[in-house]
Symmetry: C2
Subunit: 405 residues, 2 copies
Amino acid sequence: MNQKDNIRIGLFGFGTVGQGIYSVIGRARNAHAEIKRICVRDVCKPRKVACDPGLLTDKASDLLDDPEIDLIVELIDDADASYQIVTSALRRGKPVVSGNKAMIAAHLPELIELQRETGTALLYDASSCGSIPVIRNLEEYYDNDLLLEVKGILNGSSNYILSQVFDHGRDYDSALARAQELGFAESDPSRDIDGIDSLFKLIIITVHALGVYVAPSEIFTYGIRTIKDCDIRYAREKRVKIKLVAQVVKVSESEFTMFVMPEFVVKSRYIYSVDDEYNGVVIRGECYDRQFMFGKGAGSLPTASSILSDVTARHYGYRYEYKKMGYAGRPAYTTDILLRVYLRSTGSQDIIGSLPFEKIHERYTSASCNYVIGDIRLSELIRHRRALSSPDIFLCNISRFFEEE
Amino acid sequence: MNQKDNIRIGLFGFGTVGQGIYSVIGRARNAHAEIKRICVRDVCKPRKVACDPGLLTDKASDLLDDPEIDLIVELIDDADASYQIVTSALRRGKPVVSGNKAMIAAHLPELIELQRETGTALLYDASSCGSIPVIRNLEEYYDNDLLLEVKGILNGSSNYILSQVFDHGRDYDSALARAQELGFAESDPSRDIDGIDSLFKLIIITVHALGVYVAPSEIFTYGIRTIKDCDIRYAREKRVKIKLVAQVVKVSESEFTMFVMPEFVVKSRYIYSVDDEYNGVVIRGECYDRQFMFGKGAGSLPTASSILSDVTARHYGYRYEYKKMGYAGRPAYTTDILLRVYLRSTGSQDIIGSLPFEKIHERYTSASCNYVIGDIRLSELIRHRRALSSPDIFLCNISRFFEEE
């Protein structure tokens, strides 16, 4: 394509982010992009941002089969429909920009293969941490095997809730209600508070950080749903904040681990200060020590501006090369590592006693609350997932990795 | 070049960063790079990092004329010699990675033109903020005209000194001495403490942020050399820190300004927490609000890892496109803006009285120290540069731009 021409976009989805990208492209004089057609489920639904009704259609083929459309931007919620659109577009030789982390995290190996087969690019920087350019930097800048760790707060909703608790003294339920009121959390907040959204992002990040794909079901993921006042009190007494942290860490030359878990974060850590709906990512490497990136991880315009970065990258023919997937000596995924955790139970069943702790460092018992601080293998946490998901249990990582930060 | 082959590097300079890149390439198994020859002034000089003596030469032509060398990495201190090497290499069709900010800031328009003429690439991400990928992100990710401001702490040495003063209660002179002791400041620290190093970086950043080059002599640059106890006391009383801040800011749709100046930074700002030898950059845009990047801005290995990123980017044929220089409606540089400043004088001459303040908000007079808080045009500060450079004067910006942060 002539670089002077505008990229003509076929947009799937006209919700918050779709309307955001529509506004942003209108504002950016040098975006070199125009929206040619918008596919929505219901053409007649009233929307906040008005667009030429002639742009709207409810037929996917109006976009996918239009030879004048250069690029598909896919911003719909439904992961299955997103998968159909993205793979159909790639097979027709139309490059795609997508923000659907659930779909990408589930199908990434296949999507990488499909990009290779068809020679057509799929970009998805907006799928991880909204406006923070994490994927692009991992792919292009930290493009060598000196990277040791990517660790961060990847979900704005759960972070907003925890921030209301730890910075504004609210209890968990009223914090969640307030997040829902303000639109930071969905009416069904499961994905955010159960760590699923963070997990999807972590999977995508790991492909670009270490060149290895790990399927969602293999990764230990624990959220903040069961947090109780006694946990909050415990954290406050220790002068730490509880944050929902996703991390991928090299544990040796040849192995890495990854998980999503609440963590007691001390004040000296960068992510301690990532509050409200913000995201923050720490990238640690052998030579550059720690890099910290911080910004708005969600919301209509921040996400839209990230989508726009992918769109203009396509203007210059940019594609992910997945270089690290071809590296010699890629590290292998392991769950055979020892973690130190806080495990609290308020129920009558002795779940704590049934878990194979290798060492118990502290034990507290009272009428209303029992907890232990102990060392346990990550593989055992995975094996006991079901017991740990009880509403009476709360699990929190006591970061033992790399205490030197 | 076959992407499986190693890039063969001709390295100019084997000082701190040169030895760093030599070590880093040795460590990174998938760097796809090897150092084929090293040009130094004195082949016999003893060095901390040992290398095969057969690699060393003192003849530039041994590197520049070797057809087996694919890439020149230029890491010498002398800006004139650096200019000769870089332009000679580009004219011979050899791409260059350089870390010489003084040379690049002085000659960037010519170097851009030379890259166009010769079709040969020059990369210099390491020249601004060491390991923080500022240039690459401005060029590739924030590659649209929604960017409003880049503001940051770009010099580690002066920041280390100020951090010793504000976080560790030292006085300025002992902080400077300590910085020199630890190697964070040169025996002649002028470039760091007078803001010149920050200025060079700001010029390079501005080319990639807004697509406009402004020559060093046109930019107001004020350092921390003349800071005195009374200024430190004033800042402490107001619960702010003094930081040496470089910034480029759009002041309207069609104009931007830029300068380097100490600034009173309040606790709520991101850069307040950038301490010691760290650098931190805030990128503000119309849609994504603020992005903050933070990391080690200097030092052998952080800088070397940034050089390595440029080297491997060359492996994939990466070059800066300088896209924004071709944008319609690029903003114009202006110094016709009003700043609110703190101006302190301890001398007998009435320098404060001789400056054309448009409004004085506060005035303090005592036997040992006089200061005003007043509004003055940036163009007038430039016009009165000489008077302001008196050792009896200290000038500090009171950030009035964008108070909403």
